[in-house]
Amino acid sequence: MVSLIVTLVVVVLIVLFLIAMYNSLVQLRNQVKNAWAQIDVQLKRRHDLIPNLVETAKGYMQHERGTLEAITEARSRAMGAGSVADASKTEGALTEALSKFMLVVENYPDLKANQNFLQVQEELTSTENKISFSRQNYNDQVLFFNNKIQMFPSNVVAGMFNFKQGEFFEIEAPAEREVPKVNFS
């Protein structure tokens, strides 16, 4: 009788432990998914900002039609990107077009002093940062999740319920981590 109770208690404890572990794995996996969604939100935000930027700059930059058109074009291509590989290529092109534009802005002191332009510029700088910080957070979350999946005892539960490791956004090497940045200063 006593041994039966002891076995029962032990079994219940083990089941509770497994449930807790499973839940924490699910939570971590959701955090990874959420972090990935954040990157998309920020990329979309950048697309939304560009018409504003072009609109504000248009009046001041009559002679730079080419630069402005290049941005608009890069934006529409980035928005229409289908695959992940395609998206990362077109987003890169958009970043490049923007940094070219910002170099040209240096020649227009009136534009640089315009409050509305300064506002759009701040939003754009911040969005670029937000893109790189949400990528950074995504990688952090993937690291926690993968660690949990690989380490004992959570690896047992992860194996039982077929949790798959998350993929890093980019290689975790300092030199290759550098996201191309727009420098506005």
Binding site: Q115, N116, Q119, S126, F133, N137, D140, F144, A175
Partner: protein, 416 residues
Amino acid sequence: MWELIRANKRHSIVLILLMAVVLLGLGYLIGSVFTANMKNGCAMYGGLWGIAIAGTIWFFLTVLSFSSGDQILLAASKAKRVNHDVHPQLFNVVQEMALASGLPMPKVYIIADPAPNAFATGRSPKTASVAITAGLLSKLNRDELQGVIAHEMSHILHRDILFVTVAGIMLGSIVLMSQVFLRGMFYSSLGSRRRYSGSSKGGGQAQILIMIIAIVAAILAPIFAQLLYFALSRKREYLADAGAARLTRYPAGLAAALEKISNDHSAQLACANKVTAPMYIANPLKKNKKAAKLSDLTSTHPPISERIKILRTMAGGASMKDYSKSFSQVTKNDSPLPAAAITDEIIGIRKPFDQPGKSSKQQKQMHQLGDLMRIVNGFVFLTCSCGLKLKVPPNYKGKTVTCPKCKKQLSLKKSI
């Protein structure tokens, strides 16, 4: 990160329990003193009464601090909640750091004070708030502001904010009780000497002994509680610095901000005291030269010059491991970071967004400081489509303003 948060929570609970023991012990002794004049047997019941009273005080203060501690602290520091339009850069930087740490966006407050400082408060990451003084905000460039906000975000991430609130309240109740008791003893002893001088009986010596113990305890308990509290809060400052370096991938940003704070000569922050001091990024209570030499035990923050040096020495990477390596190199001591914080992740340092060292001109800074103070004090800022910025005072009654440059009518409806 989860291991670190768990370890932090454990340390906080241990400290809060220790402080509770101090508080209840003090209550017991004080209770014993007040009933020591009665029959000897009653002294013990008096002690229990003391515990009950101390526990009740603490319970109510804790309930208060849980339900609205952050609101009280923010109101006491005269912080005003702001939205994106008031200071887009601040709001954006907070958003950036919330994204980097994977936390929900905290509420953003500005304190209308020229002294440079910042703090974070709240019960949980979901209800957290970040507050920064107008003085600090106008001094920093983007990278430095990011460093400061990342430091505050790390406090939220590491669950330090709840700990500071609860421990601060606990310390406050201990100080309160011992103050009331000591003053009560002082005044009553003036009168009671005459009253009881003739009626000294057998229990007199025991009474005096209890009284002496209680007085000594009442003097020492707040000091002891403070030392406990400050010891942990100093460690948390280092940890938050390490967290800021890790979140921004740029330790030099926070270092430059701390340099600006330490080189500042404006008056001390108006709404800060010894209990709220540990939650600020740098000690808001300016010391005079003599006090600065006091031992490290009584300071709420590590020396700012040391924090700067550690951040500046981080060359290899921005991980917590790099920070603790740099800490040992600078101070020749063991790292204050808990073992759970140090993982094997490899994190590189990024390039600055702004040119380091490029700081805006003094005049521009003062201009910005003035603007911030105006916003917090209820001014409405409008930007006309011609690019001109209008500052409308809070006592302006009309519904529209005419732009002096392009004569366009601007509506005041879109106020903050």
